[in-house]
Amino acid sequence: MQIIISNNSKEPIYEQIMKQIQTAILSGELAEGTALPSIRQLAKDLKISVITTKRAYEELEKSGFTYSIVGKGSFVAEQNLDVIREKKLKVIEEQLSVVIANSRELGLSYQELQELLKLLYEE
């Protein structure tokens, strides 16, 4: 598993780690039951503090992506991909509603909005 962190990003390092592991799990790169590297080994490899990787692992566990066994480490939990997809779709719907409301305020037509979306999507 590759993890690339940026020290200059506004996003906290623990979040960067968390998101990249999440992505690896959702894409199937990390299968259910796979052992994650130990907190301490990962800290050393990424050249960051132990407490930062510990926090990333704790957050992953809290959001159900992993589980841990005392003395053994962290493992990828079973993922219900349909549920996750459903949740993400819901977020997209909400975000689009905001876009539509803003467009109406400006008097932007559906046609114009569609063109704008197309432009951005293909970028």
């Binding site: 906290p12 503090s49 132990v50 407490i51």
Partner: protein
């Protein structure tokens, strides 16, 4: 045992300087960086930890034991790393391993040889002819070879060139892969800590101003810049220290949320480096005297 070092109600009086009723806990299994201005009391506190100084009042516990009844046991498990090897200057590492080894129950000569190789140290050259960086590494090799669980260092990176400092930090990280180990070190080079420290202890005039995980500092502290007409007696409360100039103000807050709520987009907020936190906190502290 979560805390490897515990100070309770420590007082120590000197002519010019004193520590009063100091509490301090150092977490096991982590790297704690110890910062503070010159004369803030860093060396005194390290000496108290090492039992090189005794407190007038209060209790020092290391590994849950006190020095009165367990001095030898504690010392076995501590590696004190420093650049001046006062006792052994004329000796070579080979001589030292022969003299030091019998003093420790857990001395591992194979381990020692491995570290000497890894750190590329000469075995037969007198220590006094070593560079500062090499002396530091020699001291560390000795500490690791008697399987020290607690490594205490007084400014280990001072005076080292950047490449060497990096190498030393990498070694610290390697040491920390073993979760039994704890590293405690003082430094002026706060960028060393940005990378590897788990906890930061800041002291000023013999007082612990904070002892916190590094991410908490990053989340709670920020440098705020804005126009001076935003400041009044109420809004000033959100800041630890404010610097005003004709072009605006610049201040340190430890309450990012409150500042966001109060000022919104009217101010610019930036992550505060450890150096900036130290600078402003020190300024604020001397203001209240």
């Amino acid at each position: 045992m979560e805390n490897v070092i515990e100070f309770r109600g420590i007082s120590k009086k000197f002519k010019e300087f004193s520590i009063e009723n100091l509490d301090l806990q150092i977490k096991r299994g982590y790297i704690t960086g110890f910062i503070g201005a010159n004369g803030a009391g860093k060396s005194t506190i390290i000496k108290l930890m090492m039992n090189l100084l005794q407190a007038d009042k209060g209790e020092v516990k290391v590994f849950g034991m006190d020095y009165f009844s367990h001095a030898k046991e504690i010392k076995e498990r501590i590696g004190f790393v420093y650049d001046r090897n006062v006792f052994y200057e004329a000796l070579s590492l080979k001589d030292i391993s022969r003299i030091v080894a019998p003093a420790y129950k857990c001395w591992n000569n194979k381990q020692f040889k491995a570290y000497v190789d890894k750190f590329e140290l000469p075995l037969n050259k007198p220590i006094k002819k070593f560079s500062k960086g090499m002396q530091m590494k020699a001291s560390l090799a000795i500490a690791l070879s008697h399987d020290a669980e607690l490594i205490i260092m007084d400014e280990p990176t001072a005076g080292l060139d950047p490449a060497f400092r990096r190498e030393l930090l990498d070694i610290f990280q390697e040491v920390m892969v073993d979760e039994r180990r704890t590293i405690f070190f003082s430094t002026h080079i706060t960028s060393d800590l940005d990378r590897i420290a788990d906890y930061i202890v800041l002291i000023e005039k013999g007082e612990v101003l904070f002892n916190k995980p590094i991410y908490e500092l990053k989340e709670r502290y920020a440098i705020v810049k804005g126009s001076t007409n935003l400041l009044d007696r109420d809004t000033e409360e959100s800041f630890i220290k404010i610097e005003r100039s004709s072009t605006g103000f610049q201040a340190l807050t430890n309450n990012v949320e409150e500042v966001k709520e109060l000022f919104g987009d009217h101010v610019v907020m930036e992550e505060a480096s450890l150096e900036e936190i130290m600078f402003y906190v020190k300024g604020a502290h001397s203001q209240h005297d």
